[in-house]
């Protein structure tokens, strides 16, 4: 591709997938990096040709640099890639607006044919796929991927520091809570629990099943957002994690599209639900109609 390829980085260097995708298009790859110098250095060593860095952010949140990022990219517009995280979306949105560039989400493949970009992507929560060809500036939202590994041969991209006029935003408080990080994507078996669970204390029963089946515990979105029984990292679906374990146990989960799209790659799906008409049964290999409170302990015993 002879047109410019940009990636936007919003304080989080976990952009390995953006760099790989940008590289695969075969042009010059520039990164507009908001965040600390450490982040800029990580990206610079991770396989891009050039980094534009906006300086230490101080008390300004990443989002305060949205206009500055748009200013820089507007000078040499092209294909702009950003991660699907909240702050990354803000930067990418500002760039897309400035370029009046369409935004494409959920791509399964991004490639270049001459100067046109060809994107195949999932649409409407995964009920269909479309392939589009794009000519002109465009913004693409992808999974950020891991932190890029530094080029073993050493060497780093050219870094240009630009001074930025920031938007009027200041971080006045940050509270962090401890949570156990989990890589659901790597788990061979996952026990997913939904609103069929009546009380947070009952999670012990689910954890016992997870232990007996050597699984990780995951959930539907309402359990992580709203009920707050599990960390947001653990919910599965269109806006959460996409996983493809050997076995997924969907327990007390109705099986709506927005959840199931995240587990469609599972080799085997087991569904436990008291409602014989629950949608989850239409996408399950083994269907157990009944009360999870009697089936889960029995299953845990059988696995021990």
């Amino acid at each position: 591709m002879s047109i410019n390829i940009w990636i936007v980085v919003a304080g989080d260097p976990a952009v390995g997938n953006l760099i790989d995708t940008a590289r695969s298009l075969g042009g010059q790859v520039c990164a507009a990096v908001v965040g600390s110098r450490v982040v800029a250095d990580t990206v610079a060593a991770g396989g891009v040709d050039k980094v534009v860095w906006f300086g230490e952010p101080g008390k300004a949140p990443v989002e305060a640099f949205a206009t500055a990022a748009a200013d820089v990219i507007e000078a040499t517009p092209g294909v702009v890639l950003g991660a699907s995280r909240a702050s990354d979306r803000v930067l990418l949105g500002a760039v897309a607006a400035r370029l009046q560039a369409p935004v494409l989400t959920a791509p399964s493949s991004v490639s270049a044919e001459g100067d046109t970009l060809v994107v195949t992507r999932s649409i409407f929560s995964g009920i269909a796929e479309e392939t589009v060809t794009v000519s002109g500036p465009v913004a693409v939202v992808l999974d950020g991927g891991p932190i890029p590994v530094a080029n073993p041969a050493g060497g780093s991209a050219l870094m240009e520091e630009v001074s930025a006029v920031t938007l009027g935003m200041t971080v006045v408080e940050t509270h962090s809570s401890d949570f156990e990080q989990v890589d659901l994507g790597a788990a061979p078996r996952v026990v997913g629990i939904g609103r069929g669970l009546k009380a947070p204390g009952d999670l012990a029963m689910i954890e016992a099943l997870a232990k007996a089946s050597r699984s990780e515990v995951a959930c539907s979105r309402p359990l992580a957002e709203g009920l707050d029984w599990l960390h947001k990292d653990r919910y599965i679906g269109v806006s959460g994690q996409h996983i493809a374990p050997e076995v997924y146990f969907a327990i007390g989960i109705s099986g709506q599209l927005q959840h199931m799209v995240g587990v469609r790659g599972a080799t085997t799906i087991v569904a436990i639900n008291s409602d014989p008409n629950a949608l989850v049964f239409t996408e399950a290999d083994y269907c157990l109609v009944g009360d999870l409170y009697s089936i889960v302990p029995a299953l845990t015993d059988a696995l021990r």
Partner: protein, 261 residues
């Protein structure tokens, strides 16, 4: 304060059917106020109650977004008035185009202090309209917002709390700004009979796209193929649960036979 809530009148893809060629048929999917938008409306009402001011409903889409049922569904949720951009040219409009139209409508409303949106729309679900909207206006944007208050409303200062990985953060923002609510930022009030009756009397301004100053995009996007995703065939094997222990044993045996555990 002048608070705008940008909401969407949209169907759930769960209720759509998809042909083998990937063509999406929405005819049996009934549109509604998009699932998470009532959360944004609730945040806006709380802010208006605390600071004084009005809450204005804003939406853009094809003519159907201005149907009387659609208007009522929105206005019964506690808005003071509505601005509706209803134009069939917006059928299937992309994120950037919709955001550009919404931005033009926000400029048309004038003197807006804050625009609040839901987390994502039920149909497209890109989570990008609020951020592109902010970009069009040159305003700050924050997503995953869990609370908002006017720390000094007269000076246009907003105190915004948002969820970050493993915690929360409080920001002070010089407005105007665009805020996308997290799905659990507030529990929306359910409209009662009185709200539904009052909805019919609220002022509504309906606009078409040519009445607004909307920038054009120089990019062309051409759909060259559509497809229905290849779903794995599932066994759908029913296991009798009359005796939970026997059901568990049967499941474990089946999973072992499959080499799954």
């Amino acid at each position: 304060m002048k608070i705008v809530v940008a909401y969407k009148w949209a169907p759930n893809p769960q209720d759509a059917s998809v042909g083998v060629d990937g063509a999406v048929d929405w005819s049996r999917a009934k549109p509604g106020i998009s699932e998470y938008d009532p959360v944004a409306i609730e945040l806006a009402r709380r802010l208006a109650e605390a600071t004084g001011g009005e809450v204005i409903a804003l939406t853009a889409g094809p003519k159907s977004v201005d149907a009387s049922m659609a208007r009522k569904a929105a206005l019964s949720r506690g808005f003071d008035r509505a601005v509706i951009v209803a134009d069939d040219a917006l059928e299937g409009a992309g994120t950037t185009e919709l955001a550009a139209v919404l931005a033009a409508a926000v400029r048309h409303i004038g003197d807006v202090d804050v625009v609040i949106t839901g987390d994502s729309s039920v149909d497209v679900g890109a989570k990008m309209v609020p951020t592109v909207l902010a970009g069009q206006l040159g305003w700050p944007a924050v997503a995953e917002v869990t609370a908002v208050s006017g720390s000094d409303p007269a000076a246009g200062l907003l105190r915004v709390e948002r969820a970050i990985t493993g915690g929360t953060q409080v920001l002070e923002i010089t407005g105007p700004a665009v805020l996308a609510a997290s799905t659990d930022a507030a529990v929306p009030r359910v409209p009662g009979m009185r709200d539904i009756l009052a909805a019919g009397k609220k002022p509504v301004e309906t606009l078409e796209v040519p009445a607004l100053d909307v920038p054009a995009s120089g990019t062309t996007v051409t759909v060259t193929a559509t497809a229905r995703p290849d779903l794995k065939a599932r066994k759908g094997q029913l296991i009798d649960t009359a005796d939970p222990a026997a059901a568990a044993a049967e499941l474990v045996a089946a999973l072992r036979a499959d080499g799954a555990i």
